[in-house]
């Protein structure tokens, strides 16, 4: 899968998984911070995104703190998925 396509799919998955009903996936910028400002996600979302990575891409992240380093923005997430996906 091409990176651009992966990022598009990832945005849709994030919106769906986290029930971000007021967010249009295409409006999420690739370098927009997921946590804090930007999308404004919180610690429960970070755990949920780890679950998403496992269910959709077969990636296992054991420690949520490690997860936060990967879950910075769409760019970092996509890069990590490309490197580690098993699905």
């Amino acid at each position: 899968m091409e990176t651009a396509e992966l990022k598009k799919q990832l945005k849709q998955q994030i919106v769906q998984f986290l029930n971000l009903t007021s967010v249009n996936p295409d409006d999420i910028k690739d370098d927009e911070p997921l946590f804090g400002e930007g999308l404004g996600l919180d610690s429960i979302d970070s755990i949920e995104l780890i679950v998403l990575l496992s269910r959709e891409y077969g990636i296992d992240i054991k420690d949520p703190k490690e997860g936060r380093k990967i879950l910075v923005d769409i760019n970092t997430m996509a890069a990590y998925i490309e490197q580690h996906r098993t699905k």
């Binding site: 610690s43 679950v51 420690d63």
Partner: protein
Amino acid sequence: MGVISAVGNSVAENHKSLVEGLCGIRNEFDLFPTKYAELLPFGQVRISTADLLKKLHVTDPGVTRTSLLALHALNEMLQDAGLSPAALSSSETALAGASTVGGMCLTDELYADANKKTDGSPYTSSYDCASVNMYLQKHYKMNGIINTINTACSSSANSIMYGAMLMKNGFAKRAIVGGVDSLAKYTINGFNALHILSSEKCTPFDEDRKGLNLGEGAAFLLLEKEEDIAGKKVYAELTGFCNANDAYHPSSLSDEGDGPFLSMQGALKQAGLSAGQVSFINAHGTGTENNDEVESKAMLRLFEKVPAFASTKAYTGHTLGAAGAVEAVYSILSLIHQEAYPTLRFKKAIPSTGLVPVGSYKKMPVQHVMSNSFGFGGNCSSLIFSKV
């Protein structure tokens, strides 16, 4: 008082374990099939549900483990108090209880009933938190105000407060207060999903703490007014209490610990005590990174010199809805016996706070004990018990 937990089936047994440092958290879970039975330690009460039914002579259908644990502790309390059946059934006797799990300990049955996979188990009216106190009310034919509170881990601390308030405001002459929770696949998986369960026995307030262990238990206490205690055995006085909210996040406390600070401060104010008068704090001390650091910071904010403190969750695990009441009993035991129970397995203080809990059993003068319970939803409650 009456109590049942992983460290004993009675007040006396619990006391003995506390004094002797006997931990009730084990890797021997056998209440129901779960993937986590092998993987995680639990503070399981050492009686099977089948044995509880037998011991308590319960033959009604639809009675859950949660209700049975509650009945066990309530029976002990009633015996200890010598409360007559007439007094128990009086409209002036309130029952203020608590549970977060209710009948959801029957996770598999709940799943089946909810998804219409059966014609209805015997438990269709037993799943909610109220089912426990509904059962106790029926069992003992109680006629006063009956209530159940669910504010997560601070539930039974709040039910103790509610019972006291009912008495203070003329809604009850006496109040049976307490709470219960039993281990459930639902809560095991819920807490695990939040990554706050430790795969080892918990180490509250320790630098290397890795999370909490789930436990189960029940405790009930009888509150009576000062004018009614003549000639009766009195263990302690409930002198202060406060409920405040952290208002920060659904499942973790703010860095500054506003909720814990406010509940502790409010309890002191109500008791008319200065911070320096607190002899000992039975801390919430779950063993999670978040709680123990925040609770420590809140203690440092409130107390010029933080008094001796410890977490008995190192003995019992986190008994959730029962925690406030179980730890109220332990706080009162401290007062009666003038002693402090340690935070088992503590080795090294949290670097940012440097606070060291009581590390081994000791006799000490105890005049006022503060007991903290902080839960999801920012619900923070503190109780103060004083020596009589």
